[in-house]
């Protein structure tokens, strides 16, 4: 099994979850109110009350072939709006 970590702007959460749903992932976990710094922007806590929003961190545990199905759509969003996506190994307990 694979673990996919997505970190990106909270405001892109809905389209991102739609991509996951369309690819029929078995489930996902969302942590909001996340901050950070990327190559482009600093996302700080006070972004939350301005219209910009903080980051979201999404974790998906799924089979490798699903990862391949997701790659293009996710990278298209991340390429446009910023954010990162990393894959690692994970074994069910």
């Amino acid at each position: 099994m694979k673990r996919l970590d997505l970190i990106f702007g909270e405001r892109e959460l809905d389209p991102m979850l739609e991509i996951l749903e369309t690819a029929q992932v078995p489930g996902y976990t969302v942590m909001k109110h996340v901050t950070g710094r990327g190559p482009e922007r600093v996302v700080s806590e006070d972004m939350e009350f301005t219209g910009l929003g903080a980051n979201a961190h999404v974790i998906v545990f799924c089979e490798e072939e699903l990862i391949d199905k997701l790659r293009e759509n996710i990278n298209s969003i991340l390429g446009y709006y910023g954010g990162v996506a990393y894959v690692s190994e994970a074994t069910p307990l």
Binding site: R41, E48, F49, G51
Partner: protein
């Protein structure tokens, strides 16, 4: 005389709490107001401003002068971003220019209510229906900003398929803060018309509590504004100058329109403040989504880090002085 007005303005609780927040950052105190508490106050203020405005709007009625002021405000929110865009193009690309311009065409509700507090403090009368103008100036500025990108921007923008006009309109009219402000205004209007007792019962929440909540929120705004200063410095002196002189210019424009509309001094000040203030809620949200090519730190740090403090500390009394000079019989 302006100096005394500025001093009188500075020595009120809202402005003092704003300073307290600013200084906390400058001396690196660890005072912080964690999320989502600022959001609580922000939602509360929008709800209360809207509700009170709606009640007043119902009381004054949608008369010709009221409609005239509101229409003029909407026209200003279309005109101001175009002027700003032309100025900004001297130094910035189309995307950044349009995004910043849209912010300056739109308004800041907190600046507006600081102006109201200032007027109350000076015992100068103003009308509640001015909130109607406030509520209707956000969307036009956003739309102008996005049209500027469409018209002046590169013809085949990469990924531009993502931006559909429907989404723009949606973002412009239905973003959370504009929606809550306008919705509360309508609720205030309906309540005043059909359930006057309801206004009485809302009063402790939307009325009495307001000033204190404003102070608490301004404490946070002081922190947030001061945190923007480093990225403001990075943004360069052109943008710093813009963030101070553009509001002044827009205020001048506003005074002439206010004079033409024959507004009293109180309403004139509010009108001017609407023109001079810049948005840090609705517009950044819309720009982040539709013009991600623009650097968000530019439009956030100018509006929140400089224009907002400038307006609430020296801008408002300055504009009052301007109004007093330009509008006969004001004082």
């Amino acid at each position: 005389m302006e100096t005394s007005l500025i001093l009188q303005n500075v020595l009120t609780p809202p402005v003092l709490f704003f300073f307290l927040g600013t200084i906390a950052v400058l001396v690196s105190s660890d005072l912080e107001i964690p999320a989502p508490l600022p959001k609580l106050f922000s939602l509360y203020l929008l709800l209360a401003i809207g509700f009170k405005g709606g009640v007043e709007l119902e009381r004054s009625g949608l008369s010709v002068p009221v409609i005239a002021v509101i229409s003029a405000a909407i026209i200003m929110s279309l005109l101001v971003p175009i002027i700003c865009f032309l100025v900004l193009r001297i130094k910035f690309d189309v995307f950044n220019s349009a995004a910043i311009a849209a912010a300056y065409g739109s308004i800041s509700a907190v600046t507006f209510l600081c102006a109201e507090s200032f007027l109350e403090n000076q015992s100068i009368q103003f009308d509640g229906f001015m909130v109607g103008a406030l509520a209707l100036m956000e969307s036009p500025a956003i739309i102008v900003g996005l049209l500027l990108v469409k018209l002046a921007g590169p013809k085949n923008r990469p990924n531009s398929k993502v931006i559909r006009f429907k989404a723009i309109l949606h973002e412009a009219t239905l973003n959370g803060s504009a929606y809550l402000l306008l919705g509360s205004l309508i609720i205030g209007f309906l309540t005043a018309a059909h359930n006057p007792a309801g206004i009485e019962k809302m009063q402790p929440f939307t009325g009495k509590l307001f000033y204190g909540a404003e102070c608490f929120f301004l404490l946070d705004m002081g922190i947030v504004a001061a945190q923007r200063l480093p990225s403001l410095r990075k943004a360069g002196s052109f943008l710093i100058g813009f963030a101070i002189f553009m509001p002044l210019f827009n205020a001048f424009l506003g005074v002439f329109v206010a004079k033409a509309l024959e507004l009293g001094p109180g309403n004139a000040l509010l009108f001017v403040v609407l023109c001079a203030s810049a948005s840090y809620l609705a517009v950044p949200a819309a720009m982040r989504m539709t013009v991600p090519e623009a650097k968000s730190s530019y439009y956030i740090s100018t509006t929140l880090g400089l224009t907002f403090p400038f307006n609430i500390v020296v801008g408002i009394p300055l504009y009052m002085g301007l109004v007093n000079q330009m509008i006969p019989g004001a004082t």
